[in-house]
Symmetry: C2
Subunit: 212 residues, 2 copies
């Protein structure tokens, strides 16, 4: 709980600048669009030069997806807290619940993230970047299930299973988020409920629905 006791002036300033850029950017994204807001405008709003903006964020997408990244980190941290003998999908499902529900019993902290979901989902120019983050996150999830297994020897079979679980998990979450964005509701609880439906039906899918 008492982490950054000694934080130099420099670092404090950088953190404030970074946060300022994020805030200004998302405010502008909210007012206008992702596409129509220029980096120049963001930089101006945060009172830094364009050049400095690009020192804090490699590109415009990165500042837009900063909240998403935080969400991913939170889920990853929750996954690491799960017992080591849980099967992948079970662990991922539980970790997601931990990150979404238990970590924000009041629902406010969760809403802080879900508020960003719609603007991100609507910006079609961001879709590719979002998918990139998902893939990267899936790889990190998968790594949790294989590392330490047998001292570094490559295990294609285990790798496949781990990756598959991670990708399938994120696919389910993605489907849920999209359905939630498309629905009228903006209640985070509905998102969690939809996600659980998707996660659970991931396994029993085989002998259910038929084609039209």
């Amino acid at each position: 709980m008492s982490e950054q006791q000694a934080e130099s002036l420099r670092e404090r300033k950088k953190r404030r600048t970074r946060q300022s850029i994020i805030d200004v950017a998302h405010a502008l994204f909210h007012d206008n669009d992702y596409d129509t807001t220029t980096v120049e405008a963001i930089a101006a709003g945060a009172e830094v030069s364009v050049r400095t903006f690009f020192r804090y964020f490699a590109n415009k997408e990165e500042v837009a997806l900063a909240p998403l990244d935080e969400m991913g980190e939170l889920t990853l941290a929750a996954l690491r807290r799960r017992p080591a003998d849980e099967p992948p999908l079970t662990a991922l499902r539980a970790a997601a619940l931990d990150a979404w529900t238990i970590m924000s019993p009041d629902g406010e902290s969760l809403r802080h993230y879900t508020d960003h979901l719609l603007p991100i989902g609507r910006a079609s120019a961001l879709a590719g970047a979002v998918q990139n983050r998902i893939v990267a996150l899936a790889d990190r999830f998968a790594l949790e299930f294989v590392e330490g297994d047998d001292a570094g020897s490559p295990q294609p079979r285990t790798d496949l299973h781990a990756s598959l679980a991670a990708f399938a998990f994120l696919a389910a979450v993605q489907v849920a988020v999209r359905a939630w964005c498309a629905s009228d509701s903006n209640d985070p609880a509905d998102l969690v409920a939809t996600a659980l439906i998707c996660l659970d039906s991931l396994v029993v899918e085989r002998n259910s629905a038929h084609r039209a």
Copy 2:
């Protein structure tokens, strides 16, 4: 077999120009990189102006992923040929097999596509665009399972299941492609085999592997 009997001079020319752009582009991507080859160079190679290039392809990604799109169309067509009462994942698995194996018994036509997979997979700048295509394709797959069900009324539950199956399927394929790209093999048959492993373990995943 006898389709475009009457194709105007104009259309023939356009098709040739388009194909020429694709060929030149992929040759350049192969020699250099995706990132380092400029649109200007592609246009010059295809003997068109840059402006004309952008009339044929909305952006540089599109010409790079043209083969991938064709592959998607082929799989979608195969899916439509499946019996209507198959469960989604079963139908998708079978459609993929049809598209990959039966449609190219000699293995050559399949290789024609797999040859493009590695360059695409290596170009990190393309990753986002690839993911976009996958999502778009998943949506079209999902549509096959819901449309006509009950005359247009929105059925969130069915939609969820259909989307989920489509996304999970493509996640499995993706994992297989990535594993195949990372492996030494460049034999299309290995890719198909890996994909089948992934698809099959998609369902029985729950009670198998444990975490490290």
